[in-house]
């Protein structure tokens, strides 16, 4: 039955038929008012509760993720600081082994110098010889009155002897003093040597002191991380984002380097593996060039890993030093060989380009449109070797340059974990908010639908209110328009 037939089922006049339908519909809606209201309210409630539940679950997931992210961030930061501290201790150990290993010898030297100085000092402090002991006897003789010329003569002789003796003693004293000065002068280089050695010890101690200061700073950071303070986490998050951006930028630069490297070896590679074969939709030569570049990057990673510059593979880091060193040499040898191959390929590229140029030149000159013939092949041969050498150098250097990709790659991988976590937390938070808003909207929509339902059946509702008002006089006035609800 079509809608027009339905419209005319009660009467041939559409307006009348529509009115009948309207009355029937309104009556049906009025009769089904209570269950319809309950249905709408229940649907709204289900929607609201479901959405709230989903929002709650997402919030819980977000909290868990945030906790996990925090743990990862703190763990990584702790690991990084541990590495710094370890490195500082290694440096201290190196300083101690290098400089303070000779400390016993230095101590011995200092002891010898001090002993020498002490002996010299003692020699220098010896008391000069006293005047002869008979001078006191002379004093007694000198008190005798010199009236007798004999006595006077004797006294004169005594005085002469005394003068002579005094001069001799003075001379002796001067000689001793000179000797002592000589000894003191000899002590000077010992003092200087002692001073120099003490200065060296002091500088070494100062270096160690600086290292100790750095270790203290690292330890302070480490304690902050261990305590898991919010401020520390915020600082670490910001640092992680910065690292992510910088490492990403460096990786983009490295990608461009890789592309240049690829174009340098892809053409000559076709001479080796053939230019007409394909793997999937890619030329075999292109795949081979890519494989070589990938192998170079892998070897670079292993090399950096073996030198413990990066720590992407804990297995390599955990190897004993001998094996690790062997691995580093192996990776380095592979890199050198691959760099040599690339260099040769770069040279071959130049040869191929020259051959292609010669062919184009020949084709241009062999009949056909002479207007398109150019002297491209006749370039300046004197400088032709410059691009060839340049390409060879580039081919040799690029594999080693790509080796350093390992460092930004490690930073990128580590910081990506945190950054991705932060982004996911943000997305989950936004999603939870959207769901909560949707829950509120669901409740509001249910309420609005109930109101709309009542608007459609306002006439029977008004009649009902009037009827109730007539049955209970006085109540209709108090209830007003809300009475029917």
């Amino acid at each position: 039955m079509s809608p027009s037939e339905l419209l005319n089922v009660w009467s041939s006049t559409p307006a009348l038929s529509a009115a009948v339908w309207l009355v029937l519909l309104v009556t049906a809606l009025y009769l089904a008012r209570r269950p319809a209201h309950e249905l709408i309210a229940a649907t709204g409630r289900i929607g609201e509760r479901g959405l709230r539940l989903a929002a709650h679950a997402i919030r819980r997931g977000e909290t868990l993720l945030a906790r996990r992210n925090r743990e990862v961030l703190l763990g990584m930061a702790a690991e990084s600081v541990e590495r710094d501290i370890e490195r500082e201790f290694e440096r201290v150990s190196t300083v101690v082994n290098r400089d303070l290993a000779g400390y016993p010898a230095l101590q011995r030297e200092l002891h010898q110098i001090i002993t020498q100085i002490d002996e010299d000092y003692r020699d220098a402090t010896q008391v000069p010889p006293m005047p002869p002991p008979w001078t006191e006897a002379i004093d007694a003789v000198a008190k005798i009155e010199a009236k007798d010329p004999m006595v006077a003569q004797v006294l004169d002789d005594i005085r002469g002897t005394l003068d002579k003796s005094g001069r001799r003693a003075l001379e002796q004293h001067r000689k001793e003093t000179k000797r002592r000065h000589g000894l003191l002068k000899r002590m000077l280089p010992y003092w200087r040597g002692l001073s120099g050695k003490l200065r060296a010890v002091s500088s070494q101690i100062t270096g160690l002191d600086e290292r100790a200061g750095k270790i203290d700073a690292h330890m302070e950071r480490y304690e902050g991380i261990r305590s898991g303070a919010d401020a520390t986490v915020r600082t670490l998050s910001s640092s992680s984002l910065t690292q992510f951006l910088i490492a990403g930028l460096v990786l983009v630069v490295a990608t461009f380097g890789g592309i240049i490297n690829f174009h340098l070896i892809a053409l000559p590679m076709s001479e080796m593996v053939g230019g007409g074969s394909y793997i999937g939709s890619m030329k075999t030569a292109d795949v081979a060039a890519l494989v070589i570049i990938m192998v170079e990057i892998t070897m670079g990673l292993f090399f950096m890993e073996s030198l413990r510059i990066t720590r992407l593979f804990p297995v390599i880091g955990a190897l004993d030093d001998r094996k690790r060193r062997a691995m580093a040499w192996t990776a380095f040898t592979f890199l050198v060989v691959l760099a040599g191959i690339e260099s040769a390929l770069a040279y071959m590229r130049d040869m191929l380009a020259a051959d292609q140029q010669a062919l184009v030149s020949m084709l241009s000159s062999a009949g056909g449109s002479s207007s398109e013939i150019t002297a491209e092949g006749g370039g300046n041969a004197t400088f032709h070797w410059i691009p060839a050498v340049g390409q060879m150098l580039l081919g040799f250097i690029l594999p080693f340059a790509l080796t350093f990709v390992a460092i930004p790659l490690e930073s990128f991988v580590h910081s990506a974990r945190t950054v991705l976590g932060v982004v996911t937390i943000g997305v989950l938070r936004a999603l939870a908010t959207v769901l909560r808003v949707a829950a509120a909207v669901s409740r509001a929509v249910a309420h609005a639908l109930i109101q709309a339902y009542d608007v459609i059946i306002f006439l029977p509702l008004a009649i009902e209110r009037l009827a109730r008002g007539a049955r209970v006089p006085g109540r209709g006035k108090s209830t007003g328009p809300e009475g029917g609800r």
């Binding site: 053409l267 590679m269 076709s270 001479e271 080796m272 593996v273 053939g274 230019g275 007409g276 074969s277 394909y278 793997i279 999937g280 939709s281 890619m282 075999t284 795949v287 081979a288 494989v291 070589i292 191959i341 191929l352 051959d355 292609q356 010669a358 062919l359 184009v360 020949m362 084709l363 241009s364 062999a366 009949g367 056909g368 449109s369 398109e372």
Partner: protein, 214 residues
């Protein structure tokens, strides 16, 4: 080293397959040698030079003439599948160019023009190459004149082949009534498209860049 690299690459991409034939291109150039068209040798040379410069290692190329009975191996002037190594391919191109120079220096005008015979020969050769990208270039005014008794009422096997008519010269009667020219071109388009091929006309030979596209 070469074997090692191929083996390594093939191992990595074994799921996708390692092939050479279906990715290659094959081009068959039919050169009209009838009547006054022999004067267009320079243009034909320009097209051949362009193709030799454009085709890559692994591609196939053949040049054949359109004469009174073109459905013949003898009408193929030179054909080659370029080696995988670029240097060898370049040597082959030089040899090919020499063969062309030799051919054009001893060119004789044919009495009739058997285009459909040439197309059939081209289609067969292209099919034999196994190339995925097949092109037939017809350097002709597209005016077919068959010798008495020759039957060419067959459907051309041109499915998946691109046919490009090059330098379709306007003949004197075409200048009087251009509808003749248009009708002639439309007739060939219909023949080729009915046979499952794709038909194009390029009269401006300075725009050969899109010659092997599509």
């Amino acid at each position: 080293m070469r074997k090692m690299l191929i083996a390594l690459a093939c191992t990595v991409m074994v799921a996708t397959g390692c092939s050479s034939g279906s990715h290659g291109r094959a081009v068959y150039l039919l050169v009209d040698t009838s009547g006054t068209y022999t004067k267009e040798v320079d243009r034909a040379n320009a097209i051949i030079n362009y193709l030799l410069g454009t085709l890559e290692p692994g591609d196939s190329f053949a040049v054949a003439r359109i004469d009174s009975a073109s459905f013949s191996e003898k009408d193929i002037i030179a054909r080659v599948t370029f080696a995988d190594q670029p240097t060898k391919a370049n040597d082959q191109k030089r040899a090919f160019r020499q063969a062309m120079t030799q051919f054009f220096s001893n060119l004789h005008a044919a009495k009739y023009t058997d285009i459909r015979g040439g197309l059939l020969q081209a289609a067969e050769w292209l099919h034999e190459t196994g190339a995925g990208d097949r092109h037939i270039l017809v350097f002709s005014d597209l005016k077919e004149e068959l010798p008495p008794g020759n039957k060419r009422d067959f459907k051309l096997p041109l499915k998946g082949t691109s046919v490009v008519a090059l330098n379709v010269a306007k003949l004197r009667p075409d200048q009087v009534d251009p509808k003749r020219y248009l009708k002639r071109v439309d007739m060939w388009r219909e023949r080729v498209t009915n046979a499952g091929g794709d038909f194009r006309v390029i009269n401006d030979l300075s725009r050969l860049d899109g010659l092997l596209k599509g």
